[in-house]
């Protein structure tokens, strides 16, 4: 049977999204793409992401935000000012018909709007409510305000990126929010699995700071098992640590930079052979990981020499195909859009928008053999208000 004709697995589910920015909307986007009917409630000025760039097309306006368009694909937009108290009861009516409520009401917002934590779930035992906030609804930071750099700082990510001794650097864009959106989608799916079996809904809290804390690469174990502080180390990863090896590094080549991810003993051996230094394999100076680390500057210079004569593509093909070494070019944004592997996967989809016309958006990092996700344009502000609330 043609899989595009099969109903998507979340068809028939109604999702109300009262969340702005990236985390909640990114979660809602995934639910919508797999069949759910997602109704997005926006304040009169629109989701705040409508006001920040980058923008699409030539004009900066509330319909041209790239963050908004990407994360709100296929939703219905309803404008409802929740600071007007009667609108809370309109929202209650809308939520009463919903299966899932995604919201981002932190403690200050809940106080401002008078929305207590169990307002919706106490009267509807089958409702799944997903709360996505920076710090959660309890604890000493629960009244804190934040932006991505603050999340990265408190979540232990910021400290790890950048050169030793220099200012720690943030990850690009809105990474804590995207990670929380993905985690929120996991939370919805887990709760749906349970509801499909028992009929019971639930209130599930997902905090950005805790999301980040669970997504560390053995960072905490370096302290709890080995007793040292994990540092940022530029492109050289964590050379001081027992976890590290020589060869996780980024090096300049003829047309940019390439990244190496040499992490096992046999990869180290093949790296030596590749750069014509097979004699290192018998040399005690390179016998152990820590010995290699102490020779890192010299090893870097040898690798630089080998890499320097080649282009990024030459390095990747030669190192990967002949030597079986994990390498990749460091790509710029426009290069990612044209990368052969990503094109082969159909990673980007052209979507047309009435104001900003065509643009390419990432679809999903996964391909599925039995489902065709439904991604369409994001709504204009309030485009569906009258359809949904009858105004």
């Amino acid at each position: 049977m043609d899989k595009s004709k099969q109903p998507l697995p979340l068809a028939g589910l109604k999702v109300i999204e009262v969340a702005q920015g990236v985390a909640g909307p990114h979660c809602g986007r995934m639910l919508g793409a797999f069949g759910a009917d997602v109704i997005k409630i926006e304040p009169p000025s629109g989701d705040w992401s409508r006001h920040i760039g980058p923008f699409l097309g030539e004009d900066q306006n509330i319909e041209s935000s790239a963050i908004y368009q990407y994360n709100n694909s296929g939703k219905k937009s309803v404008v409802l000012d929740l600071l007007v108290s009667k609108n809370i009861s309109t929202l209650t009516d809308i939520v009463s018909e919903a299966d899932v409520l995604i919201e981002d009401w932190d403690i200050p917002t809940r106080l401002l709007n008078g929305i207590e934590k169990d307002r919706f779930t106490k009267s509807d035992s089958s409702l799944i409510e997903i709360s996505l906030t920076p710090f959660g609804l309890s604890g000493p930071y629960s009244h804190f305000t934040s932006t991505p750099i603050i999340q990265l700082a408190l979540g232990g990510y910021l400290y790890l990126t950048g050169l030793p001794g220099k200012e720690p650097l943030m990850l690009p864009g809105h990474q804590p929010d995207y990670l929380t959106g993905l985690n929120g989608n996991g939370a919805v799916q887990i709760a749906l699995w349970e509801r499909d079996q028992t009929g019971a809904g639930q209130f599930v809290e997902v905090a950005m700071m805790e999301t980040l804390t669970t997504l560390h690469q053995f960072t905490m174990e370096m302290e709890t098992y080995e007793g040292f502080i994990r540092n940022r180390n530029g492109n050289l990863w964590q050379r001081e640590s027992g976890f590290a090896n020589y060869g996780i590094t980024t090096i300049e080549c003829r047309d940019g930079h390439v990244c190496f991810g040499i992490s096992t003993e046999d990869q180290w051996e093949r790296l030596c052979l590749m750069i014509g230094k097979g004699e290192f394999l018998k040399d005690s100076k390179y016998a152990t990981r820590s010995a290699r680390r102490s020779q890192a500057t010299y090893l870097d210079s040898l690798l630089k020499e080998w890499v320097g004569e080649r282009t990024r593509n030459d390095v990747m093909v030669e190192a990967s195909e002949i030597w079986g070494l994990p390498t990749a070019p460091v790509l710029g944004i426009s290069e990612v859009l044209e990368d052969e592997q990503f094109l082969h996967r159909g990673l980007f989809l052209e979507i047309n928008h009435p104001i900003t016309n065509k643009a390419y958006f990432p679809t999903f990092p996964f391909k599925t053999s039995g489902m065709v996700p439904d991604l369409s344009r994001s709504p204009l502000l309030g485009e569906h208000t009258s359809e949904v609330v009858g105004w």
Binding site: L8, G53, I150, L169, L179, Q189, N231, R345, P365
Partner: protein, 401 residues
């Protein structure tokens, strides 16, 4: 209204059985989340490679899983895997594509044995395409996705995240899409194959960059922590060794409050209430802020600014994160007794739903600790069968009594 519907006392995913062939980070992260929520995770390990190590590398991600040591490359071992396939809901693996082909356990083969199975493969670049057979690592995956190209003090040197960012993003994607496919199976009766590319995962966390670039050629400036929309914006060195505070001024009101707290004659200039003017003099403004925070403790600055509604946060390292007052008051961490290493503190479950009670969480099993239970209770093997399999080295049995 009194609810008549109740949730599962043993966790949301009670009854879900997952065969876990994953290694390192992305895959084990996904199955750890399922395990925390009560799914039965059967982790299949190579009997020749120990899982539990003195650096805790694997212990963080393999709690709440049963482990069996099984030689998939031997016909008898492969048969056991096929028998497990027949009674499971999900298979998840993150080898290079040719490994599963060489073992003759691709989706096509497994779906014949169990058409309801959801199989999730998580190779570096995907199961097909020009790079599909290339080896990958979290750091190289993020490079291809454009991440280090967007990090740097300036545009001359791209900088990696320092933490193999492709992995956690892929792991979280797996958690959601496998359950979506299970719902699809429950409705249609058929399983399917999911192919997640490690390198494609960070791309989908940068959607706005690609959309804007494709629309109008947008290219962000590479300029440390500077932001086009917020200023000041960055990390500033405070008192203490390598201690920093991140500060993010999001608008005019937050700037005015900030300057009233700092009370610096230069920052008090009315011109700076306008974002463009602050951006113009960003270096000067940053140097005044650096001077102000240099003599203070990061935590004190954070609470002072946050209590006045300004976005600020200490730049925590691993040690500070483990003792963070907020996470500890929320009882986020969990202490697990490791047979070889004593009590160890781990990150808990960030999805605060119906996960199994932390008091019942099990530490990471070493290879083969559940071999006997899985073979005898799930597959009906006898003790004699087990002894034969042990003698021939097909299955490793480790006594965990």
């Amino acid at each position: 209204m009194v609810s008549t519907k109740t949730i599962n006392t043993l966790g949301s995913l009670t009854g879900l059985r997952v065969l876990d062939l994953t290694r390192v980070w992305a895959g084990p992260l996904a199955t750890r989340i399922y395990g925390d929520f009560g799914a039965e995770i059967i982790k299949i390990s190579d009997p020749r490679v120990p899982l539990v190590s003195p650096n805790g590398l694997n212990s963080k991600l393999n709690r709440n899983k049963k482990n069996i040591g099984l030689r998939l490359d031997k016909p008898e071992g492969r048969n056991i895997f096929l028998e497990l396939t027949a009674i499971s809901d999900v298979i998840i693996e993150n080898f290079r594509p040719r490994v599963m082909r060489n073992l003759n356990v691709t989706y096509e083969t497994l779906a014949k044995i169990n058409p309801h199975i959801i199989m999730c493969s998580m190779p570096g670049f995907g199961l097909e395409g020009p790079y599909s057979e290339y080896p990958a690592f979290g750091t190289t995956a993020e490079a291809l996705a454009g991440i280090p190209g967007l990090i740097g003090y300036d545009s001359s040197l791209p900088i990696s995240t320092g933490m193999a960012y492709g992995d956690p993003v892929s792991g979280l994607n797996a958690v959601g899409i496998i359950l979506t496919a299970l719902r699809h199976r429950n409705i249609t009766g058929t399983g399917q194959l999911i192919d997640i590319a490690l390198a494609a995962s960070p791309v989908c966390n940068l959607g706005e960059f690609f959309a804007a670039n494709s629309s109008n050629g947008f290219k962000p400036a590479i300029n440390g922590n500077k932001s086009e929309y917020y200023s000041p914006h960055g990390a500033y060195r405070t008192k203490g060794e390598d201690r920093w505070i991140a500060i993010s001024i999001t608008g005019e009101r937050s700037w005015k409050t900030f300057t009233s707290l700092v009370d610096d004659p230069i920052l008090n200039s009315l011109d700076y209430c306008v974002l463009e003017n602050r951006k113009k003099d960003e270096i000067l403004i940053d140097s005044r802020i650096s001077e102000w925070v240099a003599v203070q403790k990061a935590e004190e600055v954070m609470f002072q600014l946050q209590n006045n509604g300004i976005a600020a946060g200490v730049v925590s390292n691993n040690r500070q994160l483990l003792s963070d007052p907020h996470l500890n008051e929320r009882e986020f961490f969990v202490d697990l007794e490791e047979p070889l290493f004593g009590l160890k503190q781990y990150d808990g479950q960030s999805i605060r739903g119906n996960f199994t009670n932390k008091s019942r969480w099990k530490t990471t099993e070493d290879v083969g600790e559940s071999s006997k239970e899985v073979l005898m209770e799930l597959l009906g093997y006898t003790i004699n069968d087990c002894e034969t399999l042990e003698k021939t080295g097909i299955v490793l049995f480790k006594n965990n009594a």
